[in-house]
């Protein structure tokens, strides 16, 4: 093992996912020398998405070929502060990425913007329902950036991702049959929406009959061949049904590998180093300035990479972990409610309902994409929350990303049988005739839900694991149950043979054994007050102003929509202000507290 120090560069970017690749591209365009460090290996569509070998459910979705290897590092989890957190030893509830492209190589591609109300939720709720509407212990906050400010960056991200969708309102005019609750846009989607698969088509009809407002889900799956602003080319999605957990062999699903890296690699001032696990950010003696990072390479050498600017883009909780390990910002303490790093940790409040259709028609669940049909009637603050006394909401949708037979059999709708002939008959029937409707809801932040360092377990590099303290709370449980109950009318209109409503059960704590989503949020949030946020509205650390932390860690609370559209827009927003303000100034804070 040798320790060495490399020549300094202008900027180091930690993580080669969407956030890291966007930041690296922007900084290279600004003329900075950029080193991007990725702890995983090299990955590409050509190697990891090669047809037909990549269409392997066992390797992709059961053995998690493209995901984080927990043997190297993981987290510990507990529900309450009086419990001992235990290691997350086997991937299940959430599936972080690893390797070039990060989770962007194997995400599904549902690509939303954020609702304007979600970005200023505390102000919005206070204005509409009064301050007392916010329950004790709920840490609701504004992002410190508005939809209007972010709009150009949402637009930019959609053009880079080649997003397919149907607009409702563009430039103040109603232009299409898109989501009537969606905010106005400066431009249409770059591509028209994907076609509805059969089950989405059924849902669209039934939802309309129920009196709701169905629309085509925006998806970063190209509905037609497309060339993005970087010159990267995408093929058309053929609904192969292998979006989620796999690399897209059609080059139709947006990924950093297809949509950004080919252009990024052309910058001579760009260097990508793989198998480079960043251990921490180095600070100078004042603790107010980062001097670079130290990482461990594949041979076990510890290498120091000095840099004038450090971008953490290692994914939501890895970013928080790195901040805690490096001493950037004050760790959050839930007892005194002080400190910022670790607070407002949230997730996605999703439950899945299964509908069994009559045996006269197969549902062809294996056909899929990141598209689908959604209704937003119960998302965000699109309905009057006054009588319900909870905050938040869920879109309801059929987002059939392709159900393969192992998942279909394990998740079959049965009378409780789990094996044997009785189960087998029902599992086969369920695979052919059922489909799933998701309620993908928001998750509010709470004072006692947070991230910190675990006192017991260590990673393979000898550093303490990150500890998650997380549980579902009354507000979010009631929200989920209310929204799922609204499916009743849809199910009646569908003429279903049977239905299983997936609803949050107040008696059941958060369970790490069931896959939910990898939409983890918060922990190092953006905001207007350095006492309650780790980052300012440009994702700059309040404490160490040459560190920017990009990812869903910045969300003060979880929204109903999937996170990546907002992650990408925030990355472009942050990069824009680094380029136009920070680089031109003395490298200090962009916001004075």
């Amino acid at each position: 093992m040798t320790d060495k120090t490399l020549p300094p560069v202008d900027a180091v970017v930690v993580g080669a996912g969407w956030a890291g690749c966007i930041m690296a591209k922007e900084l290279c365009e600004a003329g900075l020398s950029v080193v991007m460090l990725e702890r995983g290996g090299r990955r590409s569509t050509a190697t990891d998405g090669a047809y037909p070998a990549s269409l392997d459910e066992l390797e992709g979705a059961v053995r998690y070929k493209l995901f984080q290897n927990l043997a190297h590092t993981t987290v510990t989890v507990r529900n309450r502060t009086d419990q001992q957190a235990l290691p997350y030893r086997r991937l299940a509830a959430f599936l972080p990425g690893e390797g070039v492209g990060g989770a962007g190589l194997h995400w599904t591609g549902v690509h939303f913007r954020a609702m304007p109300q979600d970005l200023r939720l505390r102000s919005h709720i206070t204005e509409r329902y009064g301050r007392k509407f916010i329950p004790e212990g709920m840490a609701l906050q504004d992002y410190g950036v508005t939809y209007e400010e972010l709009e150009p960056f949402f637009d930019r991200a959609e053009k880079v991702f080649g997003t397919s969708g149907e607009a409702y309102s563009v430039g103040g005019k109603i232009v299409g049959k898109g989501n009537p609750f969606a905010p106005d846009r400066s431009d249409d989607f770059p591509l028209p929406p994907l076609r509805d698969v059969y089950t989405a088509h059924l849902f669209r009809k039934a939802a309309a009959e129920a009196g709701y407002n169905p629309y085509a889900m925006p998806a970063a799956n190209a509905s037609h061949p497309y060339t993005n602003p970087y010159g990267a080319q995408m093929g058309p999605c053929n609904f192969c049904g292998y979006c989620s957990d796999y690399a897209c062999y059609m080059y139709a699903k947006a990924s950093p590998n297809v949509n950004i890296l080919p252009a990024l690699r052309r910058h001579e001032n760009f260097t990508l180093r793989t198998n480079a696990h960043v251990l921490k950010v180095l600070l100078d003696s004042t603790g107010k300035k980062a001097t670079g990072v130290v990482y461990q390479d594949a041979e076990g050498n510890q290498i120091t990479q000095p840099a004038g600017l450090v971008i953490l883009a290692a994914f939501q909780f890895h970013n928080v972990h790195l901040m805690l390990l490096s001493g950037i910002g004050k760790p959050y303490d839930p007892h005194s409610n002080t400190g910022t790093v670790g607070r407002n940790f949230t997730y996605q409040n999703i439950t899945n309902s299964t509908v069994l259709m009559p045996a006269t028609r197969t549902t062809d669940q294996f056909i899929g994409s990141a598209g689908g049909v959604a209704v937003d009637d119960f998302n965000c603050d699109n309905f009057d929350h006054g009588p319900h006394g909870f905050i938040g909401g869920s879109p309801l949708w059929v987002n059939q990303a392709g159900v393969k037979p192992i998942a279909g059999a394990k998740g079959a709708m049965t009378n409780g049988a789990r094996w044997g002939s009785d189960w087998k008959r029902q599992a086969l029937d369920s695979y052919r005739h059922s489909f799933t409707i998701n309620a993908q809801g928001s998750n509010m932040a709470y004072r006692d839900v947070y991230l910190d360092l675990d006192p017991t377990w260590k990673d393979a590099y000898g550093q303490p694991l990150l500890r998650m303290t997380f549980d579902w709370k009354d507000n979010d449980i009631r929200m989920n149950r209310y929204v799922v109950s609204k499916l009743d009318k849809v199910v009646k209109a569908l003429g279903a043979r049977d239905v299983h409503y997936g609803m949050r059960d107040p008696a059941k704590p958060f369970d790490v054994r069931d896959y939910q989503t990898t939409h983890l949020c918060g922990g190092a949030i953006m905001g207007e007050d350095p006492k309650t946020s780790a980052l300012n509205r440009y994702l700059q650390s309040w404490d160490v102003p040459n560190v920017f932390v990009v990812g869903a860690n910045a969300f003060p609370q979880g929204m109903g929509y999937n996170p990546t559209g907002l992650v990408a827009a925030l990355a472009y927003w942050s990069a824009h202000h680094i380029r136009t303000q920070w680089l031109k100034g003395a490298g200090g804070p962009l916001v004075t507290p």
């Binding site: 459910e57 989890v77 049904g241 094996w419 958060f510």
Partner: protein, 261 residues
């Protein structure tokens, strides 16, 4: 060729080192019948030699595949273990009116093949101690790899069946086999800290995977699992079918290697 990693060295020696000892795992009080006298016997059956600590595995991931070529044909399960597997998988996924069962589909063969992968050696799980027992919803906390789960689980089940029925599992009539499996599923016993339910869940998951994974992994023979399900396999192109709402998708399955039923 099936795209599976080379088979590892799997010491069959009964004197190989025991299961991980660093453990704070305590069997829960719920277990009613604890198999007595299994301790050393079952532990000694467990593969243990050559187990890298999680830390070592992590810092030198190449070690796992650096296995002598001569060892590649070594199979994991003994004949006795295979007899159990064949019988148990068939009860979990029986041949019946809806189609072939685990045996015809090659499920035991699939599980055998899986035992030679890094997953089976616990190289994709966080295996560092201490191993502390906790509420089920906080997930798997045992010190055992999948290989160890099988070794302990099969030996433990057979020993338990012996005490209950004075014979081996595979000799029991199907209804009694089902009763045994159901007892395992409901954690009626435990084997050296391995709750029987945990072993059952591993066996159930692997049986389903063997029935429906691509045939290059050794199960789903002749694509019969997919034919039963109505899954077209690795076709991966529904461009012309996505919105033909009047017609179900008509084509049968194709495997990754181009096999059809």
């Amino acid at each position: 060729m099936p795209d599976v990693p080379p088979k590892p060295v799997l010491p069959r020696s009964r004197t190989s080192s025991p299961l991980p000892t660093e453990t704070a795992f305590a069997p829960t009080a719920r277990r009613r019948h604890v198999v007595q006298g299994l301790g050393t016997g079952v532990a000694a059956l467990a593969i243990g030699a050559g187990r890298a600590q999680a830390g070592q595995t992590a810092s030198s991931p190449a070690d796992a595949s650096a296995q002598p070529v001569a060892a590649q044909n070594t199979l994991f399960f003994s004949a006795a273990e295979k007899a159990f597997l064949a019988a148990a998988c068939e009860r979990l996924f029986p041949e019946d009116a809806s189609g072939p069962g685990a045996t015809m589909l090659g499920v035991p063969h699939y599980i055998e093949q899986q035992m030679a992968t890094p997953w089976a050696r616990g190289e994709t799980w966080y295996m560092q101690g201490p191993h502390v027992n906790g509420p089920a919803n906080l997930g798997y906390q045992l010190p055992y790899t999948p290989q160890q789960l099988y070794r302990l689980g099969i030996a433990g089940t057979q020993a338990w069946v012996q005490t209950q029925h004075q014979t081996l599992f595979e000799n029991l009539p199907p209804a009694t086999q089902d009763a045994v499996l159901s007892a395992l599923e409901h954690n009626i016993t435990q084997f050296d800290g391995l709750p029987s339910g945990q072993f059952f869940e591993q066996l159930r998951a692997d049986t389903i995977e063997g029935a429906f994974a691509d045939p290059r992994h050794g199960g789903n023979r002749h694509l019969a699992g997919w034919t039963m399900m109505g899954f077209p396999g690795a076709r991966g192109d529904y461009m012309d079918w996505v919105d033909r709402y009047d017609t179900p998708y008509p084509y049968g399955p194709v495997s990754i290697n181009g096999e059809t039923p």
